[in-house]
């Protein structure tokens, strides 16, 4: 890995911004350079929502994602907007509820029951971002489990640690 450009998109309230912050935090524990940014404004309060993080071995110049190496979409709208015209080696992860057109021919593609796992296996929809982080880390393998765990614990509300660690584990299991 020299440089990863990660974009997480979905609906406001899914906690995807926090998801990118956790990934950035874990990146720092792995002695990487990181740059995290997000969409702001009214659209971040319930509409479509986007968080980005760049993780690199070298100093980061431009801080926005231009050539994504990994895109996750948790809503139909975000899939429609962000999962097309990507480089061949970009990994695309979508929730199983997303309707993917038959002519969608991106090869590096995976569908996982992320929302369902949060809702049913973990039992709390709010953990969807941590389930995602677990799955992403498993796919990209950019952080040790210890470090990603540490990063998660830094950014979840007090009293929800156990629940979120379960979410992380379930997410990792999904992608194994």
């Amino acid at each position: 890995m020299s440089k990863m450009e990660i974009r997480l998109a979905g609906t406001g309230g899914q906690g995807l911004i926090t998801g990118t912050i956790i990934l950035a935090e874990a990146g720092i524990f792995e002695n990487k350079f990181v740059a995290q940014s997000q969409s702001y404004g009214p659209e971040a309060r319930g509409g479509m929502c986007k968080g980005e993080v760049i993780v690199s071995d070298e100093k980061i110049g431009f801080t926005k994602v231009t050539r994504p190496t990994f895109v996750m979409a948790l809503s139909q709208q975000s899939f429609n907007q962000y999962c097309k015209d990507l480089a061949e080696d970009c990994f695309v992860l979508v929730d199983e509820t997303i309707e993917v057109p038959e002519d969608y021919d991106h090869k590096n593609f995976m569908k996982l029951p992320i929302l369902a796992t949060a809702r049913e296996k973990v039992g709390k929809m709010q953990t969807v971002n941590i389930v995602s982080v677990g799955a992403i880390n498993e796919i990209l393998k950019f952080s040790s489990y210890e470090n990603i765990k540490k990063a998660v614990l830094m950014h979840v509300p007090k009293g929800t640690e156990e629940l979120n660690l379960k979410a992380l584990e379930e997410g990792a299991k999904l992608a194994k």
């Binding site: 950035a24 995290q36 702001y40 100093k59 980061i60 110049g61 431009f62």
Partner: protein
């Protein structure tokens, strides 16, 4: 790596201010600077400082100046529309020589504009926003780490020169999160104002050889007068044309005659560059990446990044412009620093310009394309 943290630019600005000794913040909510107010509200009482949310931007600026006059290092932060409102009392602080730091996290304008989109459209307002001739120091950070270290410098310059300093951030760095190495306590130079030796001396009297009067905060026994009217050394209003002339000239001279101390800029690969990029603030991040791409193609490109936007590092840019084939200015406005570059570079070389005013960020490719246009 020790004490490395993931931090947002706005948050780093808060931590830098605290490290510089800031113990007062007055503000009014406005995107994209609000995290600075939120950070100060949480952090200031933890270090014995005080935060207040004022009724408007004008009052926030006034309260910060009041706190500083009472001897407490103070800051206020805002964005475009609020920056317009703060101009009134910014001028007051220039003339009364009360230090404080005014942060402007620029967003796209004019007017309410694009509230969460990046811009550098306040560069000229930072220079000439408040009425009348007045001194200005404005610094612009390009990284989250600089949001911290340069904020410390903003306070230092403000105290040293007894003048407000504008910390000209932009949405790109303000909302960016990246790793920063928190400087160890005691490793940073911190400048504090100097008390007058003689409390009976006129409040605005400068020591021989100095252009900057010392400063006793309210309550220390000097009982002087502060006024936004042109005033004599004793702080009292006057209509004397001679005093008016001398006062305005001294205010300008305390910056103009200390450029060696105040000016700062970054140079990257300027030694043998054919093309020189001139970028500052968040735009410099696009320039770094553009340079990497261009250099891989064998194009000799260098970067000149003003860190002090005002005063502008004119002399060095002029020297560099004699050695290159062209200068490319990229900024998120319709050509504000461009005017300064044109003034400095004159006919030394060609000048190309990339200016974006649609709320999106100038990409490295856009810069690279203009560089290659020849």
């Amino acid at each position: 790596m020790k004490n490395v943290k993931l931090m947002q630019g706005n948050q780093a600005c808060v931590e830098g201010a605290l490290a510089a000794g800031c113990r007062f913040y007055a503000g009014y909510p406005i995107t994209p600077s609000t995290e600075i107010a939120e950070g100060c509200a949480a952090r200031l009482p933890q270090v014995g400082g005080r935060f207040i949310q004022m009724e408007d931007e004008i009052a926030s600026c006034a309260a910060a100046i009041g706190a500083s006059a009472a001897g407490v290092k103070a800051m206020t932060a805002t964005s475009g529309p609020g920056f317009s409102l703060k101009q009134e009392n910014l001028g007051y602080a220039c003339l009364t020589e009360i230090p404080f730091v005014l942060v402007d996290v620029q967003r796209a304008g004019p007017s309410t504009g694009l509230p969460t989109s990046p811009s550098q459209g306040d560069v000229m307002q930072a220079r000439w926003g408040t009425h009348g001739d007045h001194p200005v120091i404005a610094l612009s950070p390009s990284t989250v780490e600089e949001c911290y270290t340069l904020c410390v410098r903003a306070f230092n310059l403000s105290e040293k020169y007894r003048t407000p300093v504008i910390f000209l951030m932009d949405e790109i760095v303000g909302h960016l999160r990246e790793s920063i190495q928190i400087p160890e306590e005691g490793s940073l130079e911190i400048v504090n104002r100097t008390m007058p030796k003689d409390l009976n001396a006129p409040a605005y009297e400068c020591e021989p050889g100095s252009l900057i009067p010392s400063f006793a905060p309210f309550g220390h026994g000097q009982r002087y007068n502060v006024t936004g009217l042109i005033h004599a050394k004793d702080g009292f209003p006057t209509n004397s044309t001679e005093i008016a002339h001398n006062q305005v000239k001294r205010l300008m001279a305390k910056i103009d005659e200390n450029l060696d101390d105040i000016l700062s800029w970054e140079e990257k690969d300027t030694e043998d560059a054919d093309v020189l990029l001139v970028c500052y603030g968040g735009t410099a991040r696009s320039a770094y990446s553009a340079m990497e791409d261009l250099q891989k193609e064998g194009i000799k490109v260098g970067l000149f990044r003003p860190i002090t936007i005002w005063p502008f590092p004119a002399k060095r840019l002029e020297e560099l412009s004699r050695k290159v084939k062209k200068v490319v200015v990229a900024e998120h406005n319709n050509g504000q620093i461009l005017l300064e570059v044109e003034r400095v570079v004159k006919n030394n070389c060609k000048i190309d310009f990339i200016g974006k005013v649609n709320g999106t960020v100038i990409t490295p490719d856009e810069i690279a394309n203009v560089v290659k246009e020849g």
